[in-house]
């Protein structure tokens, strides 16, 4: 698998400066973008297309902290795995149980559940922010130690985060059933 850090020519770190990353990306884009090769032979143009799409894929991954961490995890041979809805983090069991009841009521047309859902949405959003804080701390610990144990912790925290994220989306969808989902070409 491709090492996106290597591709961008930057050292591996989880807490990286977005500004430095962007500068590096711009610099490489100026060299590799297909626009620069329009007057060149077909083979060179094809190469530019391949290299710049790979560069864009790398940048897209590294600029997002979650995808960046997932990338490092999979390079280190960690199974990220799909987070299934039955794998409820133990400390959330009770809250999730109540939330599911409220969601059922709301979907069944009982709007008295709305305030409870709105409160739940707030709670879980705060929880997300806390998770992100913890992630940053773990990122820093990994950057200084390169320890696999820390990566393991990061993996677990990412799974928990994904789970909470799914809950928030679910609540959002239920509260406003027809969000601005774009239907293409209509």
């Amino acid at each position: 698998m491709t090492d996106y850090y290597e591709q961008l020519g930057i050292p591996r770190s989880l807490n990286l400066s977005l500004e430095t990353l962007r500068q590096r990306y711009y610099e490489l884009s100026r060299q590799l973008h297909p626009d620069r090769f329009m007057q060149k032979p077909e083979a060179e143009r094809q190469r530019a297309l391949d290299l710049s799409s790979a560069l864009n894929d790398a940048y897209r991954t590294l600029k997002d902290p979650i995808r960046r961490a997932q990338h490092v995890l999979s390079m280190e041979g960690f199974e990220i795995g799909e987070q299934r809805s039955k794998d409820v983090p133990a400390e959330l069991l009770e809250e999730v149980f109540e939330l599911n009841m409220a969601l059922e009521e709301m979907r069944g047309g009982d709007h008295s559940a709305r305030p409870q859902l709105e409160q739940a949405e707030k709670n879980f959003t705060i929880m997300l922010a806390e998770t992100d804080q913890q992630l940053q701390t773990l990122f820093a610990r990994y950057d200084s130690s390169q320890s696999r144990d820390v990566l393991g912790e990061i993996r677990n925290l990412l799974n928990r985060r994904k789970y909470i994220q799914n809950l928030v989306s679910e609540v959002e969808r239920t509260l406003s059933p027809n969000p601005q989902s774009s239907i293409p070409a209509r």
Partner: protein
């Protein structure tokens, strides 16, 4: 700026608009619009910078484009087409409703590509667009005096793959190598960035005749990075026209007791009256819709207040995409430094105030909203030619790309707002023993289910070795290029062998169909070119005949010797004899003879004025 324009030929930038189209070019002084500046007898080359995107087919099959076609839209509406951009890359189901207001008919067999019936032939939207492009190409060729065969063409940022492909096809049919499709708001930002601002975050609000786009860009030392884009390819000034037209038709029905909607000419006249009123309302507080037709008169005043109320639902439809775009760009409204307004519909005061409310700052309106996109396309053309090397566009794909999986669910491979070129790789296998092909259904859109998204194409991977089910490993690479167009390649992971991929586009022309149209258009172009040369010579002939006619009343004419006068008469008669032939060489030769025969006369006249 480092500019070298000597090394490459002329690459033009084209804004192929719903209502108007423009062609532009960049040189040392910057980008500028090329006017249609040929002799006025040539239709569509009348000195205007805006070429109306209207095409009319004459009784003999001759193609008329631009302002003269706009006149023909009134007198022969059933042979004329406007706003064809709204039909590009679409199926009949998509456009059923608005087709009711178009004067032309849709021919049977229009399921995957719409076929327009004009006279005794049918044309697809790319063919009609190609006619507009050919006119622009011709205008540029006359301007430069050399052939032009390479272009950058702009498309709405929210155009999907099929709509982009259709635009590229149109270019090919018109004899243009389309070096790049550029998103309209991005092109506008490029022109704007060149002119006004080098760094910062800029939003471009582009409301044209038929499409709406919003893009948010980060400008940084010559890099134009699109952070996010959103829009609606079915929303624009046309919708306002149609709304007013419906109201006016109802008025006429009750006042005249006559249903005008079945009368093509009447509808087109009323449509024009409505557009005039709409345009005036951007500058005055009230305007009249006026129609005089078959001795009857209709007149109605529309006040700005009423107009605003009527169009509010349409303008509101642009705000959702704006909010989504801000969210996707990951910026706050406060972080946006400027809002640039593009497209003719942004002249409407209500549009300006809605944008100002949303972005909490006064939008920029000093650029000509009709021209800025074409100017940006010309800048991009200069970038591609290598003449400009310190600017670079990093654009995004507007819609997520996915494949159909079990149960009609979409598995997303490339997310919306990914910088292009972008790619994704997915491994496929077979489900049945000995299966030798795999069908991949690719869709575009944000919804979970296949049926709610736009079907792009079915890719048929062929020639898979017959092995037990689940053993085959075919690596498929989806690549969206810098034009926003998808290509698919497949490789057998076990054998390393490349697989052939057969593409069945859901909407649009096959490669063979395009090739055939190109062939036809070549033949047509030769014929057109010959006709044009004849017409040019006739224009020359008219000019000289008129001049001689005038000179014959001059004293100097009577001072000539008898045989000199006879020679002039003879040369004129000979020119008149060949005037209506199709041989432009012959007409040119006879014009030259008149020139020769009148040299002395001209000299004498000149002397006469000097003394």
């Amino acid at each position: 700026m480092d500019i070298d324009f000597t090394s490459t030929g002329h690459i033009v930038g084209i804004d192929l608009g719903t209502t108007n189209s423009l062609v532009a070019f960049m040189d040392l002084t910057g980008p500028r619009i090329i006017p249609g500046n040929g002799p006025s007898a040539l239709p569509g080359a009348d000195g205007d910078k805006l070429v109306p995107s209207v095409v009319s087919i004459g009784q003999g099959g001759e193609v008329v484009v631009g302002n003269p076609a706009r006149e023909l839209l009134i007198t022969q509406p059933e042979r004329s087409v406007y706003s064809v951009k709204r039909l590009m890359g679409r199926g009949l189901e998509d456009v059923k409703e608005e087709l009711q207001l178009f004067p032309f008919r849709v021919a049977p067999g229009s399921d995957s590509v719409i076929q327009l019936q004009l006279g005794d032939r049918t044309y697809t939207p790319p063919e009609i667009s190609a006619m507009v492009l050919r006119q622009l190409k011709q205008n540029a060729e006359e301007y430069f005096g050399v052939p032009v065969d390479k272009a950058v063409i702009t498309v709405p940022a929210y155009f999907n793959d099929a709509q982009r492909q259709a635009t590229k096809d149109a270019g090919r049919i018109a004899g243009l190598e389309v070096l790049r499709l550029v998103n309209e708001p991005t092109a506008a930002a490029l022109a704007y960035g060149l002119d006004k601002r080098e760094n910062g975050i800029v939003a471009v609000y582009d409301l044209g005749g038929g499409t709406f786009d919003i893009s948010i860009l980060k400008l940084h030392d010559g890099i134009f990075e699109v952070l996010a884009t959103n829009g609606d390819t079915h929303l624009g000034g046309d919708d306002i026209d149609n709304l007013l037209l419906r109201i006016a038709l109802e008025d006429v029905a009750s006042e005249w007791g006559q249903d005008l909607s079945q009368d093509n000419e009447g509808v087109q006249r009323l449509r024009r009256a409505v557009i005039q009123a709409k345009e005036r309302l951007s500058f005055v507080p009230a305007a009249n819709i006026e129609l005089e037709y078959h001795g009857k008169k209709y007149e109605r005043e529309i006040a700005r207040e009423l107009f605003d109320k009527l169009i509010t639902p349409i303008i509101d439809r642009t705000l959702g995409p704006c909010r989504n775009c801000i969210k996707d760009a990951g910026v706050s409204v406060e972080q946006i430094d400027e809002v640039v307004m593009v497209g003719g519909s942004t002249r409407i005061p209500l549009v300006r105030s809605a944008v100002e409310n949303l972005f909490r700052s006064k939008p920029h309106t000093e650029l000509n909203p009709d021209e800025v996109v074409a100017l940006g396309a010309a800048v991009q053309a200069a970038i591609l030619s290598g003449a400009v090397d310190n600017k670079l566009l990093l654009d995004v794909t507007p819609l997520s790309l996915g494949i159909e999986t079990m149960g009609g669910v979409v598995s997303k491979l490339i997310h919306r707002n990914s910088t292009i070129p972008a790619s994704a790789t997915e491994t496929f296998t077979t489900g049945v023993d000995g299966q030798t092909n795999v069908l991949i259904h690719v869709v575009q859109g944000e919804r979970e289910l296949v049926k709610d998204n736009r079907s792009l194409a079915r890719f048929d991977l062929k020639g898979i070795d017959p092995v037990p089910a689940g053993l085959a490993r075919i690596e498929v690479r989806f690549l969206i290029d810098a034009n926003g167009i998808l290509s698919v390649t497949a490789k057998d992971q076990r054998t390393g062998k490349e697989h052939s991929v057969e593409v069945k586009p859901s909407y649009g022309l096959t490669d063979e169909q395009v090739e055939k149209m190109i062939q036809e258009s070549f033949e047509k172009a030769e014929q057109d070119f010959a006709e044009r040369q004849v017409r040019e010579q006739r224009v020359e002939a008219d000019a000289i005949l008129q001049a001689v006619e005038k000179a014959r009343r001059h004293d100097a004419y009577f001072e000539l010797a008898d045989d000199e006068r006879a020679a002039i008469e003879r040369s004129i008669n000979e020119l008149l004899l060949v005037y209506n032939t199709d041989d432009h060489h012959l007409i040119a030769a006879k014009i030259e003879e008149v020139n020769q025969a009148t040299i002395k006369l001209a000299e004498n006249m000149l002397k006469g004025t000097q003394t």
